[in-house]
Symmetry: C2
């Protein structure tokens, strides 16, 4: 079954949902004037952890991917928690590395570790979760015609880094460093998320690639999104990797997942209230679908999937 | 590595903890006058789901075991959430069963499903989690000399049921039904937990057997616990299974895990405030250790482990 079919199957069987419909970056429940958001996101060793990632980096990543979901809800993180599935023959050094990574990320983002659970399993699995607090949850469905479409940071380095490693590309050490930094030690946009909770109209984090996230925003908000190719912030070294492999660098940037940047929409009147760096990449119109303006022409943006680049790689 | 060593390793590396120290039934964070409790508990298909358990029962169980942890904190459950690790070749019927079970338990306990996450993995894993709310978290460390030691429901049927199935015991259908009910469709003591949050001094849920939970309560509270053999509520059919296998029924009841009953301590002055059924099984004294009075003699209660009965079974 495909992921979409599995999600549909669960949505059908689960009647009693929270104070927000299922399908956002996190779930939420209202307590007085505040919203508690909660998310869980699993790292499966065999599927999600490339061999160049250290156990400590994997431990950090499981914290970061959950804090990123809380940030995409415009919430301040309150705490992290986790469950481990551990094979019997696992090395102590692997577990210590994961523990160090979780501890390091918790310190870095000043987020307490609330709870941990250990279990025996055939495969190493770390399921992380995070709680957050906001007075105004930021939804995927909040984009309005007239909004600007914006993104934090840059895009493409996570996938370019993975391709560099998989294909053994010959690139300069400084570019490799830039790509691997994003692939192995990404940043959760925690402070940005808290600010966006007060100002933006919609947000989503880049887990599955900008193209997919824009399609989700457009569909869930019932709007059209138009982005300009020249405005997409392509990360350092992505161009070089795309050239070496004969790919379009824009497609690579639009496809790259696990970037943990925040895509958000905000009204032009309020965009000046934001204190952090970001790129304005397009606008929200009435209508539907996602479009890209390339060289003066507006065309539909394909729903780029990771498979496009991954063929024969995994 | 043993579970205890793994937990020690994580405790060493994780500096920043919540508003309660790690090591209780759930973690917690204080928001104004309220405490939000959060727990996660993983069901690994190969390890935790016996072949006689249906996918729907497994889905229910993952909700129940998490609500039980929330109840043991004296909290009202606010919501359930989950992450799935799903092998590619899994049957749609298995996933539909799990979804139905989660939906059914959520309806039964009136707890909304807040969030779900799907992932690819080599082994089927359901990691559940729950949020709860209380003004007074009930800790494992709160037992005081003079308290009564109490337990909800009865004990032993979960393990007796598992042994019945594993050994193919020849017992009457009505006893088998009673045992399998507890093994396959246990109850989370949600209402009892909410009441206990207002009245009791300490609580823990029976996940690993009464003997182990009493040892944890005694150690974390810095007290001695003395229980009377004759007062331990042994479930229907446990005696018969123990006789057939040549075991002591009390040992079987003390060892049986995943019972999801609540063990709690409460002052004798306040015990009358509780409106539900329970058994008073002993008392809290000054000192340390766990003791059992059998036939007029007081002896140390061994820390019964599941291994005692499981030898050659798994």
């Amino acid at each position: 079954m495909r992921e979409r079919e599995i999600i549909e199957l669960f949505l059908k069987e689960v009647e009693l949902q929270g104070d927000l419909p299922l399908g956002d970056d996190a779930g939420a429940i209202k307590l007085g004037n505040a919203w508690i958001v909660v998310t869980s996101d699993m790292l499966v060793w065999g599927t999600d952890v490339p061999p160049i990632m250290t156990p400590e980096q994997a431990g950090m990543k499981v914290v970061i991917m959950n804090l990123s979901d809380v940030a995409a809800m415009g919430a301040k993180p309150l705490g992290f928690f986790f469950s481990l599935g551990i094979p019997r023959d696992i090395g102590e050094d692997v577990l210590r590395g994961i523990a160090k990574g979780i501890g390091r990320a918790a310190n870095l983002y000043r987020v307490p570790v609330l709870s941990g659970d250990t279990n025996e399993g055939r495969e190493l699995v770390i399921d992380g979760g995070a709680l957050g607090l906001t007075e105004r949850p930021l939804l995927r469905s909040g984009a309005r015609p007239g909004d600007l479409v914006c993104v934090t940071g840059d895009l493409g380095r996570a996938l370019a880094g993975l391709l560099t490693w998989k294909k053994g590309l010959n690139i300069s050490p400084s570019i490799r460093r830039s790509l691997y930094e994003k692939l192995l030690e990404p940043t959760a946009r925690v402070e940005e998320g808290i600010e966006l909770g007060k100002v933006a109209n919609a947000a989503i984090d880049v887990s599955d690639g900008l193209s997919k996230e824009l399609h989700i925003l457009a569909e869930m908000s019932g709007v059209r999104i138009v982005v300009e190719e020249d405005r997409i912030p392509i990360g350092e070294g992505v161009q070089e990797v795309a050239e070496l492999l004969g790919f379009d660098p824009i497609e690579l940037a639009l496809t790259s997942g696990e970037e943990f940047e925040l895509v958000f929409t905000v009204s032009p009147e309020r965009v000046y209230e934001l204190s952090f760096d970001f790129s304005i990449i397009g606008r929200v119109d009435a209508g539907k679908g996602v479009y890209i303006e390339r060289g003066g022409r507006k065309e539909r943006m394909p729903l780029f999937g990771w498979e496009h680049f991954a063929e024969g790689l995994l």
